[in-house]
């Protein structure tokens, strides 16, 4: 009897991490995700660099379950709210930086565009609460060498 109870206890302990594993990982409260460049309202011409700033958390590979670390996602002209229960989508307006990149070169058609950063965990889920940057607006001008 004792043995069975011991085994049951051990089983429960073994299963515990699996059960208690939350999808939304928590992020430190003072985390700040922001754009180093460009700044809100900036006008750019042609291809431009976007640099991602992150304070109080680390940047790591997608798939790495490190504490307090995630990887960047850049949302271009996305208006839908972020669903914390789903992985951050992967398409042409949700750019992933799962290799731990902290910058990218963007080329957008002329006009007004919005940019926003979202930090994703090892499985591409947003943190809880979501670690997101302010949504900034940039204006892309006609190329200088306009035909």
């Amino acid at each position: 009897m004792q043995i069975i109870r011991c085994a049951a206890l051990a089983m429960a302990l073994a299963l515990l991490p699996g059960v208690a594993y939350p999808q939304g990982k928590t992020a430190p409260k003072d985390t700040k995700l922001y754009f180093i460049t460009p700044r809100d309202g900036q006008k750019v011409r042609g291809a431009f660099w976007v640099r991602f700033g992150l304070r109080n958390m680390g940047v790591t590979h997608a798939g790495d379950e490190y504490q307090n670390a995630g990887h960047h996602h850049l949302l271009v002209d996305v208006n839908d709210p972020i669903d914390p229960k789903e992985p951050i989508p992967q398409d042409k307006s949700h750019l992933h930086f799962g290799a731990g990149q902290t910058e990218t070169q963007l080329e957008l058609p002329p006009g007004t565009h919005t940019l926003q950063l979202v930090l994703g965990d090892a499985k591409h889920y947003p943190f809880e609460p979501p670690v997101v940057s302010d949504k900034i607006t940039i204006r892309v001008r006609q190329p200088a060498s306009a035909r």
């Binding site: 085994a7 590979h61 992985p87 731990g100 990149q101 910058e103």
Partner: protein
């Protein structure tokens, strides 16, 4: 960069350089590339360019971002100072973690890894350099750091221990060259795994209990094994090279019969006994030992054993469809990435009728040739695989069948997806329900991804060429077709940190279902909608 200039010009403006020495307390970071000489010897120009790029793209911005100032870069390293020890350590961690990402896709001996040492000290600041034994100590600490690690001095540790959330491992007092007093050194452990190595007693207790659990399970399995007819077990233990052929045949046979593929596969080497794939891989049930034995000696065992064993179970090879070669206009004007439209001639090849399924994948996993065992319905396409994972499967399949299985080239994929058509979708220019699995392509089943073949085949008889799961192809990702080959071969070479994805997934809208749609994604990163199908050269 702006702050760096400020720092420098500030020193020019404020105290006259030849007057009182400008001393200040600063956190000093010293970074240095491990095995720099070896890297330079192997590829002088390439290494130099890469180091400069890392300095420009990673080190300088990280320092500025953490309110530090780059003092100087040397050939293989850099020195930076910070007002705040916390920022200095954070900056070091950011640099190291980013380098992990940058290095991940490179072979071990061409990785650029930094050692970083951080110390707090009173230094003399000059416009282009700093002096003081605080700097020397930082350099010494950096010297004993392992590549990829951040080591900090006791002075820094005292300042940051309650402020930066990560682990620290004390390495004790170290005597460093030419410094009289020993220096206390700590290793920074930014990741939870590493913290685990120095975990506390309570966790140890838990681990002990877990160990007990595993022991209980293991003894249960042992008891189960012993209760089996003992002859079989002994045979497996005694003759592991014979076992893979002999032992699995009675078990998988009925399953294989049910899931038989039309593809004839007469000369199959079948080292994978594939015990119920979805079941937990670690539970060492009866066939498991033979599985591991076969994978350990896979190449040699499989070359010798198949001939005398006609009863060897033909494992499930993906169903292939032969495609006659031809010429077609690749690309479209619907998206900048699909331009320019260019003529491509494709040689004859075969391609999977469906994306690789969970069942097929798990046979590779059971042979320990693929990275993980997938859960999910047997007939669902495998998903959450990286390009590297897909390559592993193709390599395993080629090895096991001795056929030239591989990933399709991007041109082959599009040629096959178009099925001889030049319309927007393979079935025409208008969206129609029942043709593809996407967000707005019509009714979607609740459970996704839907099993393979849920939608109509294209004119070549291929299912799910568009929608369902995204599919990796062989080519490196480039933003346009400018300079693409015209012979249907894969476009590789160059900076290949991302590869091409085709097809779009059930989570994308109908624009992604178009046969010309393309996107790129990081080579080594898994994502839940990414799968693949294999191709075969004749």
């Amino acid at each position: 960069m702006g702050e760096i200039r400020n720092f420098r010009s500030g020193n020019h403006d404020e105290p006259p350089p030849h007057g009182s020495m400008p001393r200040r307390l600063a956190a000093i970071i010293v970074g240095d590339i491990a095995s720099y000489s070896r890297l330079m010897q192997a590829d002088e120009e390439g290494t130099h360019v890469r180091v400069k790029r890392i300095e420009r793209d990673l080190i300088q911005p990280s320092i500025v971002e953490h309110h530090g100032a780059l003092v100087k870069t040397t050939g293989d390293g850099f020195i930076a100072i910070f007002d705040s020890p916390v920022e200095a350590v954070r900056c070091s961690i950011v640099i190291q973690q980013n380098l992990v990402g940058r290095n991940a896709s490179l072979p071990k001996d061409s990785r650029i890894e930094y050692r970083i040492g951080v110390n707090l000290g009173d230094v003399i600041v000059e416009p282009d350099d700093i002096y003081g034994d605080g700097v020397n100590i930082a350099t010494r600490i950096e010297g004993i750091a392992e590549p990829g690690q951040v080591y900090i001095s006791g002075a820094i540790y005292e300042q940051i221990k309650h402020k930066v959330v990560c682990g620290y491992e004390s390495l004790g007092d170290r005597k460093v060259k030419n410094i009289t007093d020993p220096v206390r050194v700590y290793r920074v452990l930014p990741d939870a795994d590493a913290v685990g190595r120095t975990r506390g007693r309570r966790e140890n207790t838990l681990i002990f209990l877990l160990g007990v659990t595993l022991l209980v399970i293991a003894s249960g399995v042992l008891w189960y094994l012993l209760a089996q007819p003992s002859g079989r077990v002994k045979e497996q233990a005694a003759a592991p090279t014979v076992a893979p052929v002999a032992s699995p045949s009675p078990q998988p046979a009925p399953r294989e019969a049910a899931t038989q593929t039309p593809q004839p596969s007469p000369s199959l080497a079948a080292p994978s006994p594939s015990p119920a794939p979805a079941a937990s891989a670690s539970a060492s049930s009866a066939p498991a030992p033979s599985a591991s034995a076969s994978s350990a000696s896979a190449p040699s065992a499989s070359t010798s054993s198949p001939a005398p064993s006609p009863s060897a179970t033909p494992f499930r090879e993906p169903e292939m469809i032969a495609i006659r070669g031809g010429s077609f206009a690749m690309g479209s004007n619907d998206d900048p990435t699909e331009r320019p439209v260019h003529q491509v001639t494709v040689k004859p090849f075969s391609i999977g009728k469906y994306p690789v399924t969970v069942r097929e994948w798990n046979e590779c996993a059971a042979a320990k040739a693929c990275g993980f065992t997938a859960i999910g319905k047997d007939d669902a396409p495998i998903s959450n695989v990286s390009w590297t994972d897909a390559q592993q499967y193709a390599a395993w399949l080629a090895r096991t069948t001795k056929k030239s299985y591989r990933l399709p080239s991007e041109a082959e994929w599009e040629y096959a997806a178009r099925g001889g058509t030049q319309t927007k979708y393979w079935w025409g220019d208008k969206l129609q329900p029942g043709m593809a699995g996407c967000k707005d392509c019509g009714d979607l089943a609740v459970e996704q991804p839907a099993k393979v073949g849920s939608f109509k085949p294209n004119p070549f008889g291929l299912h799910d060429m568009g929608g369902g799961v995204d599919q990796w192809v062989e080519d490196c990702w480039r933003r346009t077709y400018q300079g693409a080959p015209g012979d249907g071969s894969a476009w590789s070479g160059g900076d290949c940190s991302s590869h091409v994805l085709r097809s779009g997934s059930w989570k994308n809208d109908s624009r992604y279902v178009r046969p010309s749609n393309r996107d790129g994604y990081d080579t080594n990163v898994r994502y839940p909608t990414h799968g693949f199908r294999v191709a075969l050269s004749p």
